[in-house]
Structures are given as structure tokens and as C-alpha cells.
């Protein structure tokens, strides 16, 4: 019996979110928890991880699965050349999803497991294509009984065009702060009353402004972005970060995605890690491993190319 069946199917729909980000939707009836990812291939060389951003159509129709993809290199460029109806192949969902209040497991820190949904006041902070998986998370939080007004979303990016999913979050009644290093219209940087608006700055700066009543932070994005949030959180705030590491097998055997020094596999024990796990990482924000397994320092990397 095969545990891990592959599904090869036509793309049901492609929606352009920004010039470089598109949401691909597939007719696939699987249980997908927020933070989990799929491996996607077109059988033309390359199979890559993408976080699940939704599992229904806007009209509420179930049995769909969406991922929002940023055009970066060869593989994603090929995807951007595809049309609805073209065939791709998916395996997954994989990985340990985000925590949902009221549903603790043995890994949930005690203080968090006691929070009732009604008292849960999380910030969902995503950088670039890190934001879409937080949209599925937001839906699940609402379903679990967390009031929309308790939740705040921060979308961060280099420019305004990188601020994803504003409509989707506000559509759920969740205030959305866009934080960009450069804004097209600087005057758009309004006051963040109600946590809604734009700031010309980083995710961390946005968090400082809106996190006053926050008791939990979910973040998803580049290591450095996530790391920059920690000093801005009120003391002792528990959090979960969604990690990216180079993925090959996605089923926990090749070791490509393992973090140092504990060997936590991002494809299995992650992508969502708890604060107590994050605090033990030595590689976090310092280096990543490339496809060969070689260590690449962020310093050197940033000197070269920046993709946040």
C-alpha cells in the first residue's frame, strides 16, 4: 500500500495577485491544515515546495486547493507560462501545521494550550509569499472561534507590489497592515488605527505599532524577517514561525531540510516551529543549506542577491 499518492491533474484556475505572484488552484479534495505545503512538479525538471494558501473557492465551494507562487527562477517561470487546463502533479500535503487554539497537542506549550479561542489575540505576519499560508490560517482561526477583531494581519514586502492578500484578509474582517520599504504613494502611509493601513517600513516596525494587545505571533517569510520580529514582541510572547529550507524528498529521509543543531526536519517537524524550537536553532537567520547541503551564510548571500 502506498502511503503517499501523487495526484496529477489540470490546473483549475490561475489568478494574478500581483505582477510576480499568481494563485494556482487545483480541484483536489484533501485535508489541508494551514502551514502545510505541497510538492509541485510539471515533470520537466524540478519539484518545489509551496505552502497551501486556501482550500476552497471564494464562493465557499470545497474540494479545491490553492498555492500562491512568486516568479523567481526557472521553475516558477515555467509555471507562469502555464494556463488553466495544463497538467501538473502534486504530492502532499506535508509537514506540521500551525497551532489552532483549542486544539493543543503534546508539543503545545502549556501556557498556549490554556488560551481559549475567544482570548486568543494573534498577529499574523507574512513577508512576500509567506503571507498566503496565513490566509488559510486566518480562516481556520475564525472557524475555531477566534473573533476576527482579535486577529491582525501584517503583510511585508520591498515595495507596495509585494504586499499580498490585502483583499482576502479584509474580506474576512481582519485588519491588514501593509509594510513596505518603499511605498508608491508615501502619503498612503496612514495612521495604523485599528491596525489597518500602510507603513513605510519593515514588518518588525509594523509589529511594534500594532502588537500592543497581542498574545501570540504567527510569522511566515524569510528567516531574517522572522528573526527581526522577536525583539518587537511583548516579553514572553509565544510564537510560531513557518520555515523554509531546501526541500528534496519532503518525506523526512534525505536530510536536506534539516536544521542545526538538533536536526529538526522542516518537512516533517516543521514548517511550523514553536518558539522553544526556534530558540534552539543555530542556523536561523545565520545560514541556510543549499541544494548540495553546503552551508551558505546569509551575509554572503545578501551581498549577492536578495529575494525577500
Amino acid at each position: 500500500m502506498i502511503k503517499d499518492k501523487r495526484t496529477t491533474l489540470p490546473i483549475a484556475r490561475i489568478v494574478e495577485e500581483t505582477e510576480n505572484v499568481r494563485t494556482f488552484t487545483f480541484r483536489m479534495d484533501v485535508k489541508a491544515a494551514p502551514g502545510q505545503f505541497i510538492m509541485l512538479t510539471d515533470f520537466k525538471g524540478g519539484e518545489k515546495p509551496f505552502s497551501i494558501s486556501d482550500n476552497m473557492l471564494e464562493d465557499g465551494k470545497n474540494g479545491y486547493l490553492s498555492v500562491s507562487i512568486k516568479r523567481i527562477g526557472d521553475f516558477t517561470r515555467r509555471l507562469f507560462d502555464m494556463k488553466a487546463g495544463d497538467i501538473v502533479s502534486i504530492r502532499g500535503p506535508y509537514g506540521t501545521p500551525f497551532f489552532i487554539p483549542g486544539k493543543p497537542d503534546e508539543k503545545t506549550p502549556e501556557v498556549v494550550s490554556k488560551i481559549k479561542p475567544a482570548d486568543f489575540r494573534p498577529v499574523l505576519c507574512g513577508g512576500g509569499f509567506g503571507l498566503p499560508p496565513l490566509y488559510l490560517l486566518a480562516k481556520r482561526l475564525l472557524e475555531a472561534g477566534v473573533p476576527a477583531k482579535n486577529i491582525k494581519a501584517v503583510g511585508a514586502g520591498r515595495s507596495e507590489a509585494d504586499l499580498l492578500f490585502e483583499q482576502q484578509f479584509t474580506g474576512l474582517g481582519i485588519p491588514y497592515t501593509g509594510a513596505a520599504e518603499s511605498l508608491d504613494d508615501v502619503s498612503a502611509a496612514a495612521s495604523l488605527e485599528g491596525g489597518c493601513g500602510r507603513i513605510c517600513g519593515t514588518a518588525a516596525e509594523a509589529l511594534t505599532e500594532i502588537a500592543t494587545e497581542t498574545n501570540f505571533v504567527y510569522a511566515s517569510g524569510p528567516d531574517l524577517m522572522m528573526k527581526s520580529l522577536i525583539p518587537q514582541m511583548p516579553q514572553d510572547t509565544e510564537y510560531q514561525f513557518l520555515f523554509e529550507r531546501y526541500m528534496k524528498c519532503a518525506i523526512g529521509i534525505c536530510g536536506s531540510c534539516a536544521t542545526d543543531p538538533g536536526g529538526i526536519r522542516i518537512c516533517k517537524e516543521g514548517p511550523a516551529l514553536w518558539r522553544h524550537q526556534v530558540e534552539q536553532l543555530e542556523d536561523f537567520g545565520v545560514y541556510r543549506r543549499t541544494a548540495s547541503g553546503a552551508i551558505e551564510l546569509f551575509e554572503n548571500r545578501l551581498a549577492g542577491r536578495d529575494r525577500a
Binding site: I253, A258, G263, R265, K268, S292, A294
Partner: protein, 313 residues
Amino acid sequence: MKNEIRTEFLGVELSSPLVLPAGVLDISFSSMNQVSAVGAGLVTTKSLTIESRKGHDGPVVAEVEGGMLNAMGLCNPGIDAGLEELKLLKTAAEADVEGPGNCPVNVSIFATDVNGFSDLAERVNNSEADFLELNLSCPNVMDEFGVPLAASEKTVAEIITAVKSVCVKPVIAKLSPNVTSLTRIAGAAAEAGADALCMINTLGPGLEIDIEAGRPVLSNISGGLSGPCVKPVALRLVYECRKSGLSLPIIGMGGITTGEDAVQMLMAGADLVGVGTAVYYRGPGVFGLINEELLSFLKRKGLESITDINRII
């Protein structure tokens, strides 16, 4: 430590006969340290080459009935970076007050000719490695490098002779099941001076086709088969080597997933038992689980140690 089954291998004492084979959770010191801590008695590095290799494009794995195909394509950070991980591993293991992470290390190397192997072997001399393993048998880079070296008795003998003449570490030859007679090749390896054998590398290789796309699932088209379904072939080959009179220590692997499998492998004639793909089915904790299962078998049968079942069939 409670689940210890102390075993001697080439003069080194191990806390368990279970081995992490090349290619599974062994790119970074962290993974190797973790596997050591949960019960492996010996860990092997990913096969290291002179230059770093990013490996094949994905998909690199495909689950099939009874096992798995993989065509990682020998991704590795290169010998120098690989040996750096060994340093990190030793530091990490020593830092671990609980201690069990501190197991011996087998460094696997891959090259395409005699000089390549000698070159790599020399670099391993001055490392923390306890053993050197020659991967003569990778089936996943045939497009690049042709038939595995382990297909020829002559080549195998040449490489081992050359490596033995430069290398101060005990040398383990890793053999391929995809040959007409592995027993003959094992004999040649023994004669050339190998200190131990490791068998089997992945079987086949195999091909899986996605019928909706009309395309091979793996980007490399084919990939080596591992996991439970290769166990009978691995057992037979180990057994036949013993029957042919081979007395070298053998690390037996291929599909070992449970304590029962490990007992079978020991009975067939292996001295240590590799556990790779089972990590997929039972998680990295599989090493501890198999140690427990092995111990409880020995206990139930009233046996003292695994030497009581070794080579008994």
C-alpha cells in the same frame, strides 16, 4: 543506556549493531548526531565527492509498492565541507551531556575512477572518520558516469588496492545488487584487501510512470529501489556471500524496518545492520525501536548477544 546491544566492529566498540547508511539523514552533522542519539551504533555520511554536487532535479523520490525509488543524484557539499560536518558532529556530540550521540562515523566517498577514490581517501586520513566506505555502486548517476564500478571485479579490486595503499582508516566496500554475481565481486573485494563489505546499495534501478502525464515520475527517469521489498534480495546476497566462504565483516542493509528484519539479517550472516528507508515508515526513532525489538527477541529466546544468532542459517 538501557537499549544497548554492544557490538564490536573492526576493533571499534559500538553501542548498537544498527547503522545509518549513506544517503539518509546524513548531510549535516545535526542529522547524524540526532540519529546517533536515538540509537544508531554507527552513522555513515552522505557519499562525498571532490566537488559539491547539487544532485538531480526533483522529483527525486517516488513511493512504490513495498518501497521507494530515489534518484538524489549524489547531492553533497563536497569532501572538504563534508569533513567539516564531521568536526561539527564531534563537537556537538561531546557537548551533549547525555552522551549517546557520540557514535563512530563512517565516511562514504564516491568517485568515478581509481585516482578519484585515492584522492578522496587521502583527505579522509586526517579527519575524525572511524571508517571509510567506498560507494562503488550508485545506480542513479549512470547517465552521467555509466555502469556502476561495482559491476566489474577488476575495477573493484583496483580501487580497493589503491585506496588501501593510501588510507589509514579501515576500508568498507559498498556493493551493488544489480550484477550477475555479487558473490564474485565480494570475493574480489575481499582479496584486494577490503576490511569489510557493505551491501546492498539500492536495487534495480526502477522506473515509475505517471500515466496522466505520460512521463517518468523521477526527473532522472529511473531511481534505485530501497525499502521493505528489497529485503529478501539483500538477505539472499549476504547469505550467499557467507556460503561462498567469505569471512569479512558485513554491514547488511536493504529494507530492514523491524527488529524481526534485523534478526533475519543477522541470521543471514551480517554483523551490523543498516536501516535507511525505514526512517520514512517509522521516523528517525526507528533506531531505538529496532534496538528494543532486537533486545526483546534475544530475551524471549534466552540469548545473551547477537553473536548467538549471527550466521545461523
